[in-house]
């Protein structure tokens, strides 16, 4: 009985990690695109980005996931639970991520833009060579928080029948009747992934991507 529970938990943990990884890739790419659109000098592009951000931030993640999962099949587009999990969570988080990207870009010193214009850089070069490398340092701490939010959000795939970590813990607890053990293990499992995997990874990225800059110790 116990070995069944342990096997379920290990499998669930793997599923959670895969969904988190997939969703974080989707989020990072979309957030970067939408965040850049949000600071575009062209008004319609900016409005499009604002609409996107407000839409995904304004509705509940679970509502969005249900919409992808239950409503899209009516249009003849039946997505697998995996696709819904990775893209549903990724899309929702990208709304928040885009705002983080925008804030980071706008936090870059005004003089850097002026200097780029004075040096006659094209807007693309300016973004790629001057602004983004500086923005990414302001971006990473929030991005780390977002990864932890994503990790927690994957627990909601419980509602669309994916056997991830929370569902696996529930299944194991229901089967063995030992709720305290399995739920406690699951809680610590999430905590360990967040604190021993994601946080050090983001710290490492911060060190890698900011050569010549020393970040003061952060909480």
């Amino acid at each position: 009985m116990l070995s069944f529970g342990v096997a379920a938990l290990v499998k669930g943990m793997l599923v959670t990690l895969i969904v988190t990884l997939g969703a974080s890739l989707v989020t990072s790419v979309l957030a970067l695109i939408v965040g850049l659109m949000r600071v575009s000098p062209i008004k319609p592009v900016r409005w499009l980005a604002i609409g996107y951000i407000e839409f995904f931030r304004g509705t509940s993640l679970l509502v969005q996931v249900y919409w992808w999962f239950f409503v899209l099949p009516i249009f003849g587009l039946a997505l697998s639970p995996w696709t819904v999990a990775i893209f549903g969570i990724g899309l929702c988080a990208s709304g928040y991520g885009a705002e983080v990207v925008r804030a980071a870009i706008q936090a870059v010193d005004r003089g850097q833009y002026e200097a780029s214009i004075a040096l006659n850089f094209s807007r693309l070069t300016m973004m790629r060579r001057i602004v983004m490398p500086q923005a990414i340092r302001a971006l990473l701490p929030s991005w780390g928080n977002m990864l932890i939010e994503l990790l927690k959000a994957t627990s909601l795939t419980f509602f669309i029948t994916i056997a991830e970590f929370t569902s696996a813990a529930k299944l194991a607890a229901d089967t063995t009747g030992n709720y305290l053990l399995f739920f406690a293990v699951a809680l610590f499992g999430y905590y360990i992934i967040a604190r021993a995997l994601i946080t050090p990874f983001v710290r490492w990225l911060e060190r890698r991507l900011s050569p010549g800059f020393v970040r003061e110790a952060m909480a």
Binding site: R57, T59, L61, V71, S155, A169, L180, A186, R195
Partner: protein
């Protein structure tokens, strides 16, 4: 078969209305818990005793980095194992409150830490008791600036309320899903829930902004 059928919209509305009341109630009660408990967490974290403040920080970190759904399961299912039966409503709303209290406590902490150090020195110079310094000097300066951040959590909490469906609390999304299941028509009900959420979120953020303005003016900040 039409894609969007208005007759289902009218049929679903009463269900959604009942669910919306549950959702709003859960959010309001939960937020009340979060505001008070969050302040308590933040004050404990400011404790002079290093062990107390470190332990509090760890607890907050733990609550923040584990999913709400799992915490709700934990409270709801582990209690009966020890003969402690907690009603779903209390377990759900209570855990929603505790989860967000952890987030709010970080906000309060940020607010407390931005209060100028000189204020503390002035309190000492005027021989105010610690209680009085907190109540009359520090907190009135710490809280108004962080109301927008606290308000964000209010909206966030509202969007996390559907999680309560997992322990059989019939909130709005759950009712929409059940309605969809009965009629084999998900599109109207779920789309409308999404629309309600959008409206509620926009209204709530407008209220938060108004409250924040009022508080800042009331305490002559900014």
């Amino acid at each position: 078969m039409t894609i969007w059928d208005w007759s289902y919209v009218w049929e679903a509305l009463p269900h959604l209305y009942l669910g919306a009341i549950v959702t709003v109630e859960a959010t309001l009660f939960g937020f009340a818990i979060a505001l008070i408990l969050g302040l308590v967490f933040a004050l404990i974290r400011q404790s002079r005793n290093r062990y107390v403040s470190t332990a509090m920080a760890e607890v907050v970190e733990f609550i923040r980095s584990t999913p709400l759904l799992l915490q709700v399961f934990f409270i709801y299912f582990v209690g009966p194992e020890f003969g402690m039966y907690i009603p779903a409503w209390i377990a759900g709303v209570g855990m929603l409150g505790v989860h967000y209290a952890a987030y709010c406590s970080e906000c309060y902490r940020a607010g407390i830490e931005t209060v100028d150090g000189g204020q503390w020195e002035a309190c000492t110079a005027l021989n105010l008791s610690p209680q009085r310094s907190w109540r009359a000097i520090i907190l009135p300066q710490a809280i108004p600036p962080i109301t927008p951040a606290l308000g964000n959590y209010f909206v966030g909490m509202f969007k996390d309320a559907p999680i309560l469906a997992a322990i059989a609390i019939p909130e709005m999304l759950q009712r929409a899903k059940n309605f969809g299941g009965e009629n084999y028509r998900y599109i109207e009900a779920i789309t409308m829930v999404g629309f309600f959420y959008l409206v509620f979120s926009l209204v709530a953020s407008a209220i938060v902004q108004a409250v924040s303005l009022w508080l800042n003016r009331r305490y002559h900040l900014q």
